[in-house]
Amino acid sequence: MLKNKHIIVLSTHPLEGRGLQSFLCDEYHPEKVVVHASPQTINDTENSQCDLFFVSADLFVLFYDFFLLRKNKVIIFGTTLWNDSQSVMLSFLNIMTNEESLKAQIDELLSNTFHHENSDGLTSRELEVLTLVAQGLLNKEIADALNISLHTVISHRKNIAAKLGIKTVAGFTMYAAMNGLIAVNG
C-alpha cells in the first residue's frame, strides 16, 4: 500500500522515530522514510514529495497549523487516544501495543484515510461505489456489498456527482466504461 511512497516520521524521541521508520520499512517497503525531530528541519523537496506524515501527538499540537494544512496526509501517533482526533476526523495510531496490532491499525488507517485519488479526484472508495453503480446495483445492494451504511453510499454518490459533474446512472456507467472500471459489451 505504501510502495513508491515517500514518508516522513516526526518525533522528538530519536528511538521512537527510528523504531517506526524501521517498522514501516520492514512491513510496507515504501520508497523512502526519513525521520525528523521537527517540521522545521524538513526541506522543500522532502515536503513536496511527501505522501504521508507520521507525527507524534506533541509535535502535532506544537505545529498545529503546519499539519492541519496537510491533514489528509497525516497520521498522529501516541500512547493514548487523543480525544480531539475524533472530533476533527484525524487519524490516530496507538503505538503502545504489540507489532501485530500496530500493523492492523496502520492497515486500517491507510485504507480509510490515505485516499488513492484518480486523476479526476475520486478516492478509491468512490471508485468502488461508482463501479457498482455502473454495474447496475441499487444503493442498498452497494451498501451491503461494501459493508457500509445506505447513508454513506448516498453521500459517496453525491460526492462523485459533484466531482465529475455527472448526474445520471447512464452517465456514471459511461464514465466507468471509458475509464476501464467496467467491461464494455459489444
Binding site: 479526476d120 465529475l164 459533474g165 455527472i166 448526474k167 445520471t168 447512464a170 452517465g171 459511461m174 464514465y175 466504461a177 471509458m178 475509464n179 464494455v184 459489444g186
Partner: protein, 235 residues
C-alpha cells in the same frame, strides 16, 4: 434582463436572444417580419400573443413563472406548439446530432474506441426520446385535445404527469452528461472539429428538451389540472 412583452419588436427580441429563432419557427412565423411588434405579427398569423410571449419568456428566463392560465383555445395552441417542437426534434435535431456523430465515428473510431461508447449512449438517449415523442403524440396530446374540445374526462393527466416528467427530466440530464463526458473525459485522438459539432448539436437538443419540459410544467399541466378540477366541480 427585462421580460419580453407583446409591444416589443420581434426583430429586436430575436437579435438580443438568438436562441429564440427555432421557437418562432415552431409558431409558424417566417423570416422577413420587418419592424413589426410581436402583437402585430401574432394578429397577422392568427396566433395568441400572450401565449407566445409566455413561451418566449420561459425560454430565455430560467426562473420565469408565467402569469397566465390557459384558456381552452390557448391549450390547443400550446399542444400544437409542443407537437411542432417534437417534429423538429425528430426531423431535424436528432438527425443533426447523428450526422455529426457518424462523421466523428467514421474519421476517428479506428483510433479512439471510446467514441463507440459515446455513440452507444446517444443511441440509448435517441430511443428514449423517440418513445417519449411517440407517446406524447399518440396518447397524451390527443387526450388533452379531446378533453379541451368536449370537456369529457377522457384523460388521467394528474396521474400521467409525474412519470412523464421524470422521464423527460432524465432525458435532458442524460444529454448533459453525454456532453460532459465528451468535453471532459474523452481522451485520445478524435477529430476536434467534429467533436465540437457534436457538442453544439447536443447542446441545442438538450436546451429544447428542457424548454419543452418547462412549457409542460408551467403552462400545460396547470391548465389541464384546472380543467379537470372544474369538470369535477360541475359534476
Amino acid at each position: 434582463m427585462a421580460l419580453i412583452t407583446t409591444d416589443m419588436k420581434l426583430s429586436e427580441v430575436i437579435l438580443q436572444h438568438y436562441v429564440l429563432m427555432p421557437v418562432i419557427r415552431r409558431f409558424g412565423i417566417h423570416l422577413g417580419f420587418g419592424e413589426k411588434t410581436i402583437l402585430k405579427i401574432c394578429q397577422e398569423n392568427n396566433l395568441d400573443a400572450d401565449l407566445m410571449v409566455s413561451i418566449l419568456n420561459l425560454y430565455v428566463h430560467p426562473t420565469y413563472t408565467p402569469d397566465l392560465t390557459l384558456s381552452a383555445q390557448q391549450l390547443v395552441a400550446t399542444v400544437s406548439y409542443l407537437k411542432q417542437t417534437n417534429a423538429l426534434i425528430h426531423e431535424s435535431q436528432l438527425p443533426n446530432v447523428e450526422r455529426h456523430l457518424q462523421a466523428l465515428m467514421h474519421y476517428s473510431f479506428a483510433k479512439n474506441k471510446a467514441l463507440g461508447l459515446i455513440n452507444n449512449f446517444f443511441t440509448e438517449i435517441k430511443t428514449e426520446l423517440q418513445q417519449r415523442i411517440e407517446k406524447d403524440n399518440d396518447e397524451r396530446f390527443p387526450s388533452i385535445l379531446a378533453f379541451a374540445a368536449s370537456a369529457s374526462p377522457v384523460i388521467h393527466e394528474t396521474h400521467q404527469e409525474p412519470s412523464l416528467r421524470e422521464q423527460q427530466e432524465s432525458l435532458d440530464e442524460k444529454i448533459f452528461d453525454l456532453r460532459s463526458l465528451l468535453m471532459k473525459y474523452l481522451t485520445g485522438e478524435a477529430d476536434e472539429n467534429l467533436c465540437y459539432a457534436v457538442f453544439f448539436a447536443l447542446y441545442t437538443l438538450e436546451n429544447d428538451i428542457r424548454q419543452y419540459n418547462n412549457v409542460c410544467q408551467s403552462l400545460l399541466t396547470p391548465a389541464v389540472k384546472a380543467m379537470i378540477k372544474q369538470h369535477n366541480a360541475q359534476k
